[in-house]
């Protein structure tokens, strides 16, 4: 069945709530008429307000409360409408959730799922658009999932909810309206498996979340020019599917890692470092990465034009790595809407 990514999240939540009474779902606006961009819409009507509920604007406490509830048998799913709001809860996530199993000698884990939505465009600006997956991926004890497709949105969410460790589940706002086929039923995808989205032997492109969409445009555009790339959708940042990345690099000899976050200290840098240090002899050219620049994202549309990595940048980077001229003008021309919206369906404000 084809649904939007947002509807797939909702289906994943509904499936989990139906499958296991220990699942609860809360966060600001969870039961409001918009239902967090449709992802939690009306779930409270089906599952009751004890299990699906709104909360005070108390992100730090509510995260700790989720941890305590998890220690006492529940599987809480906490949603933040922006990742930026979840920053208030870092202490609970990093010092409690991530460490609990370890610091008490493995007695008990913390099966919580924290959904965070990454904003972009329409002037989301410095504090509503941060893509900080590398922060969470840096913390031993946390898992970090970043789905791209509607199917993965549902199945990886189910995998996250029924995982026995804390999972940071990052949804890019620009994916919410994308359509895809979603499997019916309680399909729980295990975390840590990448997917090869396109196969080729020219360059290995490693992407995640919305970056995969831009990469797909680039890869298909390059294919028409006779350049076939491997495109790996990581789906999970921690654990990261190193065997998939390594196997691809051994085939192509070239690595281009993409990252929707800042360049310095990012996930792409980690991938480049690991491949360069451990698989140097597999490489035919220096590994490359494309990421957001090391500045906050401004609000003005005039300042975000070249902020994010887009398909043309990816195609050009592949061309540079191969020492080939690639044509990108037609790729840019295909985009029929302003750079700061994901499509004509989006006209602000949030």
């Amino acid at each position: 069945m084809s649904t939007t990514f947002a509807a797939a999240i909702r289906e994943g939540l509904a499936t989990a709530l139906a499958a296991d009474d220990s699942v609860i779902c809360f966060g600001l606006g969870t039961d409001d008429p918009k239902g967090v961009f449709g992802t939690t819409l009306d779930l409270h009507k089906q599952f009751g307000s004890d299990r699906v509920f709104d909360m005070p604007t108390s992100e730090a406490a509510m995260t700790g409360i989720a941890i305590g509830a998890a220690l006492n048998g529940l599987r809480p799913v906490l949603t933040h409408q922006r990742l930026d709001f979840a920053l208030l809860s870092l202490d609970q996530l990093v010092n409690n959730a991530a460490k609990w199993r370890f610091m008490f000698g493995g007695q008990r884990g913390v099966p919580i799922t924290i959904r965070m939505i990454i904003g972009r465009g329409w002037g989301q600006g410095p504090t509503h658009s941060q893509s900080l997956q590398s922060w969470f991926a840096h913390i031993p004890g946390l898992k970090v999932v970043m789905p791209t497709t509607a199917a993965d949105a549902k199945t990886l969410l189910l995998g996250s909810i029924f995982d026995d460790d804390p999972v940071i589940f990052l949804e890019h706002r620009w994916l919410h309206n994308m359509q895809g086929d979603v499997p019916a039923g309680d399909v729980r995808e295990p975390l840590g498996k990448a997917r090869v989205v396109r196969s080729g032997d020219a360059v290995t492109i490693v992407a995640m979340s919305y970056m995969t969409v831009e990469a797909l445009h680039a890869v298909d555009h390059l294919a028409a020019q006779g350049i076939a790339c491997d495109l790996i959708d990581l789906r999970s940042i921690r654990p990261l599917d190193w065997p998939a990345v390594i196997a691809s690099v051994q085939k192509t000899g070239r690595l281009l890692a993409l990252d929707p976050g800042h360049l310095t200290g990012g996930v792409a840098g980690e991938i480049v470092a690991r491949i360069a240090t451990d698989h140097f002899t597999s490489l035919n050219c220096a590994p490359q990465r494309l990421a957001a620049p090391d500045v906050p994202e401004a609000t003005s549309p005039a300042l975000t034009k070249d902020y994010h990595v887009r398909a043309e940048h990816i195609a050009q980077a592949v061309g540079r790595m191969l020492g080939r001229e690639v044509e990108t003008a037609s790729l840019i021309a295909q985009r029929q809407f302003p750079h700061d919206v994901p499509g004509n369906w989006f006209s602000g404000p949030f």
Binding site: P33, P126, T299, L303, G348
Partner: protein
Amino acid sequence: MNAETSRRLLFDMLRIRSVEETIAARYGEQTMRCPTHLSVGQEAVAAAAGAVLKPTDLAVSGHRAHAHYLAKGGSLKAMIAEIYGKVTGCSRGKGGSMHLIDESVGFMGSTAIVGGTVPVGVGLAYPMKLNNTGQISCVFLGDAVPETGVFFESVNFAVVKQLPVLFLCENNGYSVYSPLSVRQPPGRKLYELVAGFGLKTFHGDGNDVRAVHAALSEGVAAIRAGEGPRFYEFETYRWREHCGPNYDNDIGYRSVAEYEAWKLRDPVPALRRALIAEGAISDADVAAMQAAIDAEIAEAFAFAEASPFPDACDAFTDVYAADAFAPAAG
């Protein structure tokens, strides 16, 4: 209250209302490309605070800050240009509607994370106390803010150090679509809750601008006299949707009847009627005010539209004091 102050309050409320309604009317043109939270219906507290605070007093606010910025004396042109993302904007296009600043009038910044500026406002007050400057720091906040830990931590410190802080809460009953009833227990009064921290707290009708003005006049004088921080809660109502230009009474989180009841308590015509009845102002005076406001707004929008966008390279500036680091290569 003298007639001059009353007229000022009416003018400032009319001005805020007209600015916000113009933004709402023109938002659909898709040239104001940022999340925008309007204060229509909530003009009274801002106007009263603006009249009570001195230009040398400092203020901070949150996401719904247009009214606070304007009432404190912030440049209208720079605010509209900021919403348009122009280089002439008060934050040079970096921040948009949710990040307003005009230090020339003591508006030290509004930010978008709920509760984020509360400790900053308390921090502003610390050197005021140290140096005995006679200033006060005004922290504008919504009814969701006393749900954040940082609010209570900040109030506590302000009380411990007896800092000159005015915590000014506009309780409009909602945080986005969530009524207070899902965020506080039944019967809870925010001003009673906060009083537990050991500061004087007050509450009142946030749509009665003269009552707000009277309360704040007394309060600000006391804070200025060194009596420590105070918390004021005023009940009011946001007319339009939480974020954006439209009405949203149809989506079901609040009733049309509730909205209509609050509309009857519109603070702007209430003051206008009272002043006319008192003979403090005439219909012609009000028309002249409105004409002056309309002209100023037209000029501000024209200024914003005619202003240039920032240069693309401005995206890389202002991260550090000096541009110590070259922008990272992509």
